[in-house]
């Protein structure tokens, strides 16, 4: 199914308020699965746990579909619920940290990237506290503006900006210490 058809089918599902429409819901899942899965994966650094969490998010979406009005609303809702479920998951189960190296490398780089630096960055992100980690994931994975992140995570915009600044400073410090200032 092409992306435009998928989107159209998903929008029909939303317009009809019919969560039992299998194809429509499947379209919604296919449209957003990589977003939800990636947020969970970058946050948990654990592929099976990320998949399970993503499935739980979509089950919740299925139950809440009649309350969601548009494609943007679904996207916002998914990001918000995934973020909150990530924090809940981490708090509920103090999981042993799986090595960040297990996370697959991105398949199609747009510009030349340093694999060593990429790995180090993912390690530092995984070591951040829960909220700054989520803020960084939503900012750099989802390209969300601080205002959007603030709305999704129910926190003041100033706090989001502060998390971003501090996390970036920490990243620069840690990465430059281990790889060398020349690299970045």
């Amino acid at each position: 199914m092409r992306k435009s058809e998928t989107l159209a089918s998903a929008e029909r599902t939303l317009a009809d308020h019919s969560p039992d429409t299998r194809t429509g819901f499947a379209a919604l899942v296919r449209l957003h699965q990589s977003m939800v899965f990636s947020i969970a994966l970058h946050f948990l650094a654990d592929r099976p746990a990320a998949e399970e969490l993503a499935q739980d998010v979509f089950l919740q979406l299925h139950a809440n579909l009649p309350n969601l009005k548009s494609e943007d609303h679904v996207k916002f809702w998914l990001r918000k619920v995934t973020a909150h479920r990530c924090i809940d998951h981490k708090r509920r189960r103090k999981l042993p940290q799986v090595s960040i190296e297990e996370i697959a490398e991105p398949s199609a780089p747009t510009r030349s990237v340093d694999p060593l630096l990429q790995r180090k960055l993912r390690q530092v992100i995984a070591s951040l506290p829960e909220k700054p980690r989520l803020v960084m994931i939503l900012r750099y994975q989802e390209d969300m503006e601080p205002e959007e992140i603030a709305e999704a995570l129910a926190m003041p915009v100033a706090t989001v900006r502060s998390h971003l600044q501090r996390s970036l400073a920490l990243l620069r410090e840690k990465v430059s210490r281990s790889i060398g200032e020349v690299t970045i």
């Binding site: 899942v29 990589s34 939800v36 990636s38």
Partner: protein, 122 residues
């Protein structure tokens, strides 16, 4: 750190945190779970109410409800009866205590009177 370096870090970050593909069977698994949940809830809601459409079950349910109401009513009456008996016993006890108290007062007054007479004779 220069702006160029900042941009480079942000570029590297975007790359490090780029979206990953979900497992290929993710959507199928998801739909299977939704299907399971849907059929489970349908079966539960059907089995919950459908059973009452059978005449025997319906009469059994009506009889059970009537029996529960009757037993409840009898129990309530018994409790009320016990309570009123208790109230009557309490009233009787209070009366007995009042009578005993007034008798004691009389006896005390009599003793005081005898003591006073004896003191006067001495």
């Amino acid at each position: 750190m220069t702006d160029k370096n900042t941009n480079q870090v942000e570029h590297e970050l975007k790359h490090a945190l780029s979206r990953q593909e979900a497992p290929p069977d993710f959507a199928d698994k998801m739909l299977a779970r939704v299907g399971e949940q849907h059929s489970m809830s349908t079966v539960m809601s059907h089995s919950r109410w459908k059973v009452f459409t059978r005449p025997l079950i319906r009469w059994a349910a009506i009889t059970a409800t009537a029996a529960s109401l009757a037993i409840g009513g009898i129990h309530y009456r018994n409790v009320q009866r016990e309570r009123s008996k208790g109230e009557a016993a309490k009233q009787q006890l209070m009366l007995a205590l009042r009578i005993a108290g007034s008798k004691l007062q009389l006896a005390k007054a009599r003793v005081n009177e005898i003591n006073a007479t004896q003191a006067a004779n001495r």
